[in-house]
Symmetry: C2
Subunit: 435 residues, 2 copies
Amino acid sequence: MSDLPIVNIGICGLGTVGQGVWKHLTRSRATLEARLGARLRLKKASVRSLTKKRGVRVAPTKLTTDPMAVATDPSIQIVCELIGGTTVAKDVTIAALRLGKTVVSANKALVCGHGPEIFAEARKHGGHYFFEASVAGGIPIIKALREGLVANRFDRIYGILNGTCNYILTRMEREGLAYPVILQEAKALGYAEADEALDVEGWDTAHKASIIAYLAHGSWVPTKAMNVEGITQLTQTDILYARANDLAIKLLAVIERDLATDELSVIVAPILISRNKVIANVNEVYNGVSVTGDVVGETVYIGRGAGQDATSSAVISDIVDAAALLLRGNAALPEPVEHHCPRRPPERSFGSYYIRLDVRDEPGVLAKISAATAKFGVSIASVQQSASARANAATLMLTTHETNEKAIRSAVAQLRRLAGVLGEPLLLRIASFGE
Amino acid sequence: MSDLPIVNIGICGLGTVGQGVWKHLTRSRATLEARLGARLRLKKASVRSLTKKRGVRVAPTKLTTDPMAVATDPSIQIVCELIGGTTVAKDVTIAALRLGKTVVSANKALVCGHGPEIFAEARKHGGHYFFEASVAGGIPIIKALREGLVANRFDRIYGILNGTCNYILTRMEREGLAYPVILQEAKALGYAEADEALDVEGWDTAHKASIIAYLAHGSWVPTKAMNVEGITQLTQTDILYARANDLAIKLLAVIERDLATDELSVIVAPILISRNKVIANVNEVYNGVSVTGDVVGETVYIGRGAGQDATSSAVISDIVDAAALLLRGNAALPEPVEHHCPRRPPERSFGSYYIRLDVRDEPGVLAKISAATAKFGVSIASVQQSASARANAATLMLTTHETNEKAIRSAVAQLRRLAGVLGEPLLLRIASFGE
């Protein structure tokens, strides 16, 4: 092996994922080296504390508290940025790319927030930026979109991209417990962060949706230009309604492009989806993505979306791709062609909807509701009623016939103001993917 | 665009898939060229008849009846072998590779039967051999195994790899009709070949299983060294039994490697699998593959396994990969390291089984059966009975407690000889994947 070329790897951030990469790369190194015809050396890693105990053994001489020292070490060709966030992580990434190095990242917030700038630096200095681990953990969905499905234009991509939300929704459904109860348990078990907002309010999913939209369509959709809704308003009433109607509620990213008008729509929201769909049956911490291409038809990808091991699997695959490229001259890769798609306006987003609202338990309420929605052209398809936690009130679960997003929003705004409607109505989309 | 490098592509075999590749490549060419920074030219195609009408328009000057003229044309860098079979297809492939060209293929029989020889020619002459379309149609499963999941060792890979069989089994289950009836309809609809043996007897699945085993383990398992069983013996009795017990019957390839002993097992057989598993719910012409890696855990891939469009999607993705490689010097790619795994002997293949057999309808038969299987250490877990088509007979459906493949085979051979057992018993495995 002594004549083989050497590829030196540095890791910025030896936290959960960093340690996983170190561990699994050490374990699989001989195989990967034989595959590559080169030696892989874990050269240096940055940590916050030199004295903290870790799950992997790393020689103290390889550790530093300065991530920039890893990123700029002249002997290191591949820098793994596993710090997270968009401050130090960004500085380290840009510094490494400016030195012509290749950066491997699991950082969806950074790709989503600064993708164009980062990609430009990589191009300009002859390095690469890989981020397979940033979306759907161990599932090679980025490779599928960039390479495997390159012959396709994508009408619709939708999926579950956040394991924490899927875990909470799965447990709410299986155990019949309220959202806050399951959330507390998920935190205690380490399945939800102490500050859960990024996950449960949909922003983590939105970051990933933005990355998918760019890879599939060459168009950057910032998260603030998306409709992003989380799972915090869901109750057992909604879960039971779904189950009784052979539906599941999943927090989905839905990325649709009208191939005729070129309009692009990206939303993140809890959506009612038929149990006949594979994605409706992806449970617990698993992620699942359905990708429909105009040539291949529908393809589906399922796997663990997060966690040390699944993320490490994706980071290591990027490291191997990066090493293979380096060994053969590090030339540029085919890239999505940047292309600005206009945003699909709400009046051209069609679908049917579920509205759950509490009403005063008195005659004539339903007539008033129906009249209020009819003003916006929204007609009620079904009504079910259940007990409300409020006194002298009932909970109504309505579904609508097909309408559009503009009309339904106006209708719900109207309902909110209606005498007899108590509290805040909940609006959910009902997916009609391919049916 | 005039300064851009040009990549010339030839197609050997302008049949269903060849025409799909021509059509979709023509349609998506501008996008792919922008991605690659190069021009893609469909230079020449070989056909059996110059006068036959085709679904795509190809200038007559680009057509030839001689596939070798395409394979050896000095201007052509990428040759798509879409002839099928292992005679002319092999000659054309070897000829192109010997000229240092890259060959893209959808030919599972050729990869399975002559992989090592073909790969050696590609390596020797500096070309490449790509075959994404040979397994699971449009699903980029080969890329996932070669690249996306490279950090993993694979304990178990299983899946549905033949759309024809899955279509037949789905219709048998949904419509309650007998295998021969559905087969005839599938032929009439073009979902099954006139000579269906390759599909329904499991050999097509076996070819694909062999390719997967090589990619995952570096070990070539010829189909004749596998246990290969088809779906022709399945009846509505089996289908109904499955449904009543929340199982599905799927023709599966199962590739297992014991990471401790290194033993490899590859089988193709109709298997009873819990409906809780995603793969059990992959229906009609869809393929689905579950890949469990020691780092990533379980990942699942679903999509159309065959047909003009799905196969074209995979062929075009290989063409783009091949073109990108050519444009940056065509250096060697990381490859699975060849490694001979010993075959797992039947006595170390554990599982429980389903046996369906007709017996003379008289007292004491079950006791005799139970005694016969007990001799081999196989104990019966459950017995159900249904009406037999035979006079004075009943059909028994037995399941066993966990035993091993050697014991169950001996037990069934014994049952076959037992007075009171009529006709041929059917033996099916009951999957216990990850439960």
